[in-house]
């Protein structure tokens, strides 16, 4: 075999960023390479400097960042022998612009913002062609349509004239990929290309990238935090932490023989489906939970475990997008966010709620929290002191209810007021409900800090001084302040890094065990739900399509949507690659692809929850037999 030169060779790269708080070394003498036609994955957590490296390669570093050392060599296979040091090139020069978009291109994370809303998809993809080549209009258009076909648009001619808002998230990301590949670059830098996507769409996009990469013989520098993705697509892997390379090797080196404590820690921190019951994730930085001082613990333990704490019946909510005008008639198109949703949460359990974005899981949590009023249905809360009608509660009843049900939010950055100290944030619920006097509140707040493993000396600090995980712990402490029975966790870890995610999950688990809490745990990540939940409800298009105990759901899923979700989770394990055959094009939530007995019948007879074993229900036609459902 003829030895090939490295396509991209980064040698001892250092990048410094000037911040208000001083100079920050974002990248410290990092070295890595990308071979032509291969995928190198650069793996790290947020703040590890991986995106800075991507920006350096493309010459799009923000003005506060400067390359301080090293070089980036780009050996264009079309011009053998010529080696360009990208660090030496003026970022606005003709030469760099000729490379950018043509020889090196980028796939962005957020397909919503990477496409201009004002231009058609075809127009945007073709732009790179028009800039870098002198093809006639008709030829450029033909190539663009060819590209659209290649990235899997079902009707490229029609797609050419469509605007981004007409496309789903998955198709948008395909368009972004088409834009990056239109000039057939030698190197594509993909910065978290699937992070913003649902898990089933992520699997499709990964499959597409893999296919195109071998078809077009291009190299990919894949930047990600998800080891599961790495195991499925990468050839070589580089692990970066805090701007320094921790470990590098071929994909089998990394996954079969991890050496560095950081990599080992990362691999241990990812929840997976094969965990033994009761097995704990090992977080890099574990938190000690101490609830002994929290007085509420004993009072709650008295309640009966297993009795129904909260039940929702027939919840329906539709949102209408109104086209209003001064003179025009108001038309409204309604979209059902919740469609006849019923579920029960039992005291002491953790009910997992899984579904893709837009399936209505957050709306459901907001209905339970009385933040959104449903069109129909009822929610009853019963902690043993007589049932409370949640939707009708007013005045004192509502205030009592507020102390019983609390919420942990997804985004630890927007859920804490930036203008308040942690002290104020944590004592606010106590003030609202007139608990104790100023002095006892300070004591209580200190106890809460200890419960979530934060130093009480941090109380005078502002949220912006905390890391994402620490903020999320403050959010959990705030939710615990009033001594709730039911905690609704709305994607509490999806904004966090893997190592921090394990820490928060363990914290939530420990709190549940020690305080006897009940959780409604909402997530799009099946592995996370698997780790946390006792029972799992799968939600799709505003409906709960399957609900079962955890082991049952993972062992014998019945609903096609559940199966698709399960098949789409990428594992950080080389022996369990994604099974692309079960992942067809189109979305898994498209009811048309389901077997007929899961679809609504022509006579509009409502679907019912078919009983398929203990605690296992599947939404199907009333006439369908259990054996039929199992066998499809």
């Amino acid at each position: 075999m003829k030895p090939v030169n490295d396509l991209l060779r980064i040698e001892g790269l250092g990048v410094g960023i000037t911040l208000q708080s001083g100079q920050l070394e974002a990248v410290k003498s990092a070295s890595l390479r990308v071979l032509p036609g291969k995928v190198t994955a650069l793996v790290g957590e947020s703040g590890s400097g991986k995106s800075v490296i991507a920006q350096t390669i493309l010459g799009i570093l923000p003005p506060v960042a400067k390359v301080t050392a090293g070089r980036i060599l780009f050996n264009d296979p079309e011009k053998p022998g010529s080696s360009i040091d990208l660090c030496q090139l003026d970022r606005d020069s003709e030469a760099y612009r000729a490379l950018r978009g043509q020889r090196i291109s980028m796939i962005f994370q957020e397909p919503m913002t990477a496409l201009s809303p004002l231009h058609t998809v075809g127009n945007q993809i073709q732009e790179a062609l028009t800039i870098h080549t002198s093809l006639p209009e008709a030829e450029a258009r033909r190539r663009t349509e060819e590209m659209l076909d290649l990235v899997g648009f079902p009707d490229p001619k029609r797609a050419y004239g469509m605007y981004p808002f007409e496309l789903s998230g998955g198709l948008r990301q395909r368009a972004v990929i088409a834009m990056a590949l239109i000039c057939r670059p030698a190197l594509v830098v993909a910065d978290e290309p699937t992070t913003a996507l649902d898990v089933t769409i992520q699997a499709q996009i990964l499959q597409l990238l893999r296919e195109l990469q071998s078809k077009l013989n291009m190299a990919i520098l894949l930047i990600t935090h998800d080891l599961g993705i790495v195991a499925n697509v990468a050839d070589e892997v580089v692990i970066i932490y805090h701007g320094e390379i921790m470990e590098a090797g071929t994909v089998s080196d990394i996954f079969r023989n991890p050496q560095h404590p950081y990599l080992k820690g990362l691999l241990r921190a990812v929840p997976h489906f094969d965990m033994a019951p009761g097995e704990r994730l090992k977080s890099l930085r574990d938190v000690q939970v101490d609830t002994s001082k929290l007085k509420q613990a004993e009072t709650r333990a008295a309640g009966k475990r297993g009795s129904i704490l909260l039940s929702a019946k027939g919840l329906t909510k539709s949102f209408s997008t109104r086209k209003s005008g001064w003179f025009a008639k108001q038309e409204s198109t309604a979209r059902k966010a919740l469609d006849d949703v019923s579920l029960e949460i039992r005291r002491g359990e953790c009910l997992g709620l899984v579904g893709e974005s837009g399936c209505g899981k957050t709306t459901l949590s907001k209905v339970i929290m009385r933040a959104v009023r449903p069109d129909a249905g009822a929610v009853t809360y019963d902690d043993g002191n007589g049932p409370i009608d949640v939707l009708a509660a007013e005045g004192d009843d509502l205030q009592t209810l507020r102390t019983k049900i609390q919420m942990v939010f997804q985004d630890p950055f927007s859920s804490l007021s930036p203008r308040m100290t942690v002290q104020n944030i944590l004592s606010e619920p106590l003030e609202i409900h007139n608990r104790g006097d100023a002095k006892s509140r300070i004591e209580q707040v200190k106890t809460l800090m200890e419960v979530v493993g934060l130093d009480p000396r941090f109380l005078s600090r502002y949220p912006h001084s905390f890391s994402g995980g620490q903020r999320q712990r403050v959010g959990i402490a705030r939710a615990l302040a009033l001594g709730p029975d039911l905690l609704i966790c709305d994607e509490p870890v999806s904004a966090l890094d893997v190592s921090v995610q394990a820490q928060i999950l363990n914290l939530l688990k420990d709190l549940q065990a020690q305080l006897g809490l009940t959780y409604l745990f909402i997530s799009h990540n099946l592995a996370v739900v698997d780790y946390m939940a006792d029972r799992i409800a799968v939600m799709c298009r505003g409906r709960i399509v399957e609900i079962a105990p955890r082991e049952v759901l993972f062992k014998s899923p019945i609903h096609p949507y559940t199966r698709a979700l399960l098949a789409a989770v990428p594992f950080p394990d080389l022996d369990r690659p994604l099974d692309y055959t079960t992942l067809q094009l189109g979305t898994a939530s498209d009811t048309g692809t389901w077997p007929s007995f899961f679809q609504e019948a022509d006579n509009k007879a409502p679907l019912v929850a078919a009983h398929c074993g203990e605690d296992h229900f599947v939404l199907a036609q009333a006439s369908a037999k259990v054996q039929e459902l199992r066998a499809w």
Binding site: V238, I245, E247, G249, R370, Q410, M420
Partner: protein, 391 residues
């Protein structure tokens, strides 16, 4: 192995960093960082503002201007209404330091007046043998300091028997510089009073529109659009005409500021409304609602602190509009009336083209107007940048 990089093209060997690894280093903070992290919002804003050099110096300039209004009597060499019949329409006198090659200190030459019989214009010529040294911390015109104490000290004043008209005099022989210094009092404060009125209206109306939405929001939006579409000068004229002629000048002064405030709240109300709409969607507001917080608490503890910094910045940018409005109104003779003196009133002297051609120094009051407005714009710009220290 020391480098993770193999020779070009060679197969990748398995590299493991041997540097000591501590998973907690990433959470450790340097002193500099912890200083930033412990800072409150206002401190962060101050640091960010200080880095905007132009805004910072404009802020200092404005602070000095406002401080000067407290000591106008002391700073001005003449009183507001001191007339010098001997020196009508004098051009500015230059300060000299050297007389015939020898150092004397700051002084002005004496003036001789003659009448040009062709144009009937008074012509002033320096008399090189009469020297009037400028006195400092001297006794001059008597005044009542802050309307309470009799005093006669000035920062600087003309020599005994001499004159000191650094920016010339007007048609009654009054010192233009002194009148500008006194005029700052009215011109600078009229903006503040006007902005207070429009601030109050803007926050209340915009806040209600933003928080409640619905028909009230719709109505407010339409009213704002209508108000903004009316040409401002005719509207001012109509409103100024409402004020009874019998009112004392000081009451008219308040009336004018009130009118300016009444017309200026629209921009502020819009700013408040849009800021409120975006803040209402923040999760920490939802969190407070779910804790059972009342509306008043949410507005007071979460929403207002969230946008007050933006409001201050918006208001700062609105002040120049007020000052210009007063200047324009007074210039047209609709605003303040003598004997109240503002920069606009001073400029009415220069209404006539022939006056401007013959006595151009009467346009000097424009200089402080321009400087103050530029300073306010830069200052407000810096404040606006600093208002959101978390981005």
């Amino acid at each position: 192995m020391t480098s993770p990089l193999p020779a070009p093209g060679a197969p990748l060997h398995h590299y493991v960093s041997t540097a000591p690894f501590d998973p907690h280093t990433i959470t450790a903070m340097t002193n500099e960082q912890s200083k930033v992290h412990l800072a409150s919002q206002w401190k962060l804003m101050w640091w960010k503002f200080k880095r905007h050099r132009v805004a910072y110096y404009c802020g200092i300039f404005l602070a000095l201007m406002y401080a000067s209004t407290l000591f106008s009597e002391f700073l001005a060499p003449y009183n507001l209404h001191t007339r010098n019949v001997e020196a009508i329409h004098t051009p500015p006198q230059r300060i000299h330091f050297f007389h015939e090659g020898s150092f004397v200190g700051p002084f002005v030459y004496g003036r001789e007046r003659s009448l040009d019989m062709n144009t009937m214009k008074r012509v002033y010529t320096d008399t090189p043998n009469v020297i009037y040294p400028v006195r400092f911390f001297c006794k001059g015109d008597t005044y009542k300091f802050w309307g309470m104490w009799d005093a006669d000290r000035h920062l600087f004043c003309p020599a005994e028997g001499g004159t000191l008209f650094l920016l010339g005099t007007d048609r009654l022989g009054r010192d233009v510089l002194s009148r500008i210094i006194y005029g700052a009092r009215i011109s600078l404060t009229i903006g503040l009073i006007g902005i207070t009125v429009s601030f109050a209206l803007g926050i209340i109306i915009g806040g209600l529109a933003g928080y409640h939405g619905g028909w009230f929001d719709l109505a407010v939006q339409r009213v704002i659009e209508v108000l903004q579409s009316i040409p401002s000068i005719p509207l001012w004229m109509a409103l100024a005409a409402i004020m009874p002629v019998s009112w004392s000048p000081i009451v008219i002064y308040f009336g004018i500021t009130f009118i300016l405030g009444l017309l200026d709240w629209t921009g502020l109300a819009r700013a408040v409304r849009s800021k409120l709409l975006s803040l209402r969607e923040e999760e920490y507001v939802l969190a407070a609602q779910l804790m059972g917080a009342k509306d008043s608490r949410i507005i007071g503890r979460h929403l207002i602190p969230g946008f007050i910094s933006h409001l201050i910045a918006t208001a700062t940018i609105a002040i120049p509009g007020m000052i210009l409005g007063e200047t324009a109104l007074s210039f047209l003779g609709l605003g303040l009336r003598p004997p109240i003196t503002s920069w606009g009133i001073l400029l009415t002297e220069a209404k006539n083209v022939s006056v401007v051609a013959l006595y151009p120094w009467l346009l000097f009051p424009m200089v402080p107007v321009i400087l103050v407005i530029i300073a306010f714009n830069f200052f407000g710009d810096g404040l606006r940048d600093a208002a959101d220290p978390y981005n």
